[in-house]
Symmetry: C2
Subunit: 360 residues, 2 copies
DNA sequence: CTTATCCATGGAAACGATTCCATCATGCTT
DNA sequence: AAGCATGATGGAATCGTTTCCATGGATAAG
């Protein structure tokens, strides 16, 4: 009663060979009466084929690996739900890892997936290309979601190339040494540009960008959107943690009291910005306007409700899982999903020079 | 290059038997020089033992199953992070399932875990005892987190017993037919009681409770805390979805304009309450006071910041994983973790009769 | 010097499934 | 009627690991 029935038990109870049982269960040929008997016995014994046995024989584990930085971040929660939804519809189990935005942990998780023979992975990468090399070399099918691996020190003298591109001012369409990995991303460029234009239209000129890890593309898009040589002091970065985000936001507000608008590159950053602003007695949007990346449920709860750049977190996860699980068919290199600027109440007109603003 | 090295490859390359390789790698006895050679070869071939092979042989898959209703709910995100953290420290992979608060999906996920031979599970249950019977019968080690299975129709004529207990007014210390499953829970009773006392201290008398699925214990605790026969109209429930939560909150406010305070039994409910209140032009806390279960980061972002009953989501997940993964040692039946009332700004004094309130 | 002990070692079985292949019976064609 | 094709069926190999057991050599004890 404690142990599960095996195929052998079923075979004996039905008076047939194990090969026949296997065939019946996986849709092979068998006579109707045999099939019926086997099915009946299997049901009666509550038999379930062992995925472990099957995986060993077929030399591959079905299933999907899912690596995200932090499930506490609502956006990644949405992304995970999307991936889970597709996996469920495909009947595949999901092995989850949370990396804490730490390349080392990510590396460990990759190792574990390798050991588990999970050879298809959806990841929000924290490490660089080198971190992912082992996975690829081992033949894993990987799809990145939400972002691409950071471009760290180039492994093999690609320096000049990269410098050149930076000098060009525009972000390169493809990273200097792209991994050959498909990705599902939000249209950061368009999202950021729309937000910046919106803010400029309200009269804002000193617009800051508050960035998180792994989203160089957003920062680049911001630089591009503000045009001219950007004021680099207005572009600050935090690591993944809430503390770091708060410190960055607070530091930004204090060091540059002349800024009048902030674009937060993620919901944790946005949260930090709201908190830091309140702490410093900056009113939103009277003193500072705020646009946040990610539309999360609580954005509406803030007062004023936050104007956001919505990206379809759930869809990103869903599409990524679909990409990695659906074998065959030519796989597109990269899928870019649209973003949408949702205007609520956290942006106001430029208040003008201090003291001469709209304050009645 | 496409396929991984097996133990046989290592054995051949090192000129030893596979048994020796296995022994070296799993810490058995071997001569120093053999050990060294094997280790060197293994490293050179980048050999990783296949978990599938091992699991088959040992007739059990290591690893932890994790079943939560919805990763989009920050509380479950925290809980999952906790469980993941412990699993990581134990070196165990985690198989994740999101049930959407649907017993049927939960049942399917249990079946999948069974197939995968994942025999240790942490679950936030959505189904009733019957849903979990198959898992238990199959010998799974299960630990419930955050809540217990709802007590549905009793399978075997326990009706009278249950009725009796309901008539008694107090919730039973143990459910009528408890599964023999340990659990890690927050101290709902104390949390709710503290919140209700706090509200009463502010003068509130008509206090409503907005409950989610699976938390009968909280509702019971609420009934107990308000004492006397509770006004059942002031106790409403929603299913897990945001829409349902909003509908419930909105309906509550509209049908009972005389209420002056609400206890929301979860962060999704709290969110709905804030939204519904705003929509109906009820100001918090002037018109209605609000206490929410769960301390989530955005509680501080609301204005006014939300007074909450904080429960340690991360710890709940961590402890549950520890309980299920740490073999041996007498396992406690149930762990109850403390809650804490965090007073922020969403509760005010009772405004008195309409028009005679504290409005200056 | 002989015998008992101990340890390193490798062969082989086992885990639970899939799948190739041989076997056998049946029905059809010529 | 004989041969051939077809289809159902079971035996056995296989996947990669762990673990039991036998073997053999070396060392210690008598």
């Amino acid at each position: 009663m404690d142990k599960r029935a095996t195929i052998k038990d079923v075979a004996e109870a039905a008076g047939v060979g194990i090969a026949t049982v296997s065939r019946v269960l996986s849709g092979g040929s068998a006579s109707p009466q045999t099939r019926e008997r086997v099915l009946a016995v299997a049901a009666q014994l509550d038999y379930r084929p062992s995925a472990v046995g099957r995986n060993l024989r077929q030399r591959r584990t079905g299933g999907l690996g899912l690596l995200v930085p932090d499930l506490t971040d609502t956006f990644f929660g949405q992304l995970a739900e999307g991936a889970l939804a597709y996996a469920r519809s495909a009947g595949e189990p999901v092995v989850l890892g949370s990396t804490g935005d730490d390349p080392e942990q990510e590396s460990e998780m990759i190792g574990m997936l390798l050991e588990q023979s999970v050879d298809r992975v959806v990841a929000v990468p924290s490490g660089d290309a080198e971190t992912w090399q082992p996975a690829l070399r081992a033949g894993m099918t990987v799809v990145f979601a939400d972002r691409l691996p950071v471009e760290g020190a180039d492994p093999a003298g690609e320096g000049p190339d990269r410098d050149l591109m930076l000098l060009d001012g525009l972000p390169p369409a493809r990273p200097s040494r792209p991994l050959d990995v498909p990705a599902v991303l939000a249209d950061d460029r368009s999202g950021i540009r729309t937000a910046v234009r919106y803010l400029r239209g309200l009269g804002h000129r000193r617009i800051a960008y508050l960035g998180g890890p792994g989203h160089d593309r957003r920062a680049e898009a911001f630089r591009e959107a503000v045009g001219a040589p950007a004021d680099e002091e207005l572009i600050v970065f935090a690591t993944g943690s809430r503390d770091s985000a708060y410190a960055a936001a607070s530091g930004l507000f204090q060091s540059r009291p002349d800024l009048s608008a902030v674009v937060a590159g993620g919901n944790v950053l946005g949260e930090a910005a709201v908190l830091a602003a309140r702490e410093l007695d900056l009113r939103v949007p009277r003193d500072v306007s705020l646009v946040m990346y990610d539309d999360v449920p609580w954005a509406e709860l803030c007062s004023p409700p936050l104007t956001v750049i919505a990206q379809p977190g759930r869809d990103i996860g869903y599409r990524a899982a679909e990409l990695v699980l659906r074998t065959g068919a030519r796989r597109p290199r990269t899928v870019v999903l649209p973003t949408e600027l949702i205007i609520r109440g956290s942006c106001g007109p430029y208040p003008g020079r201090p003291g001469a603003g709209v304050r009645a």
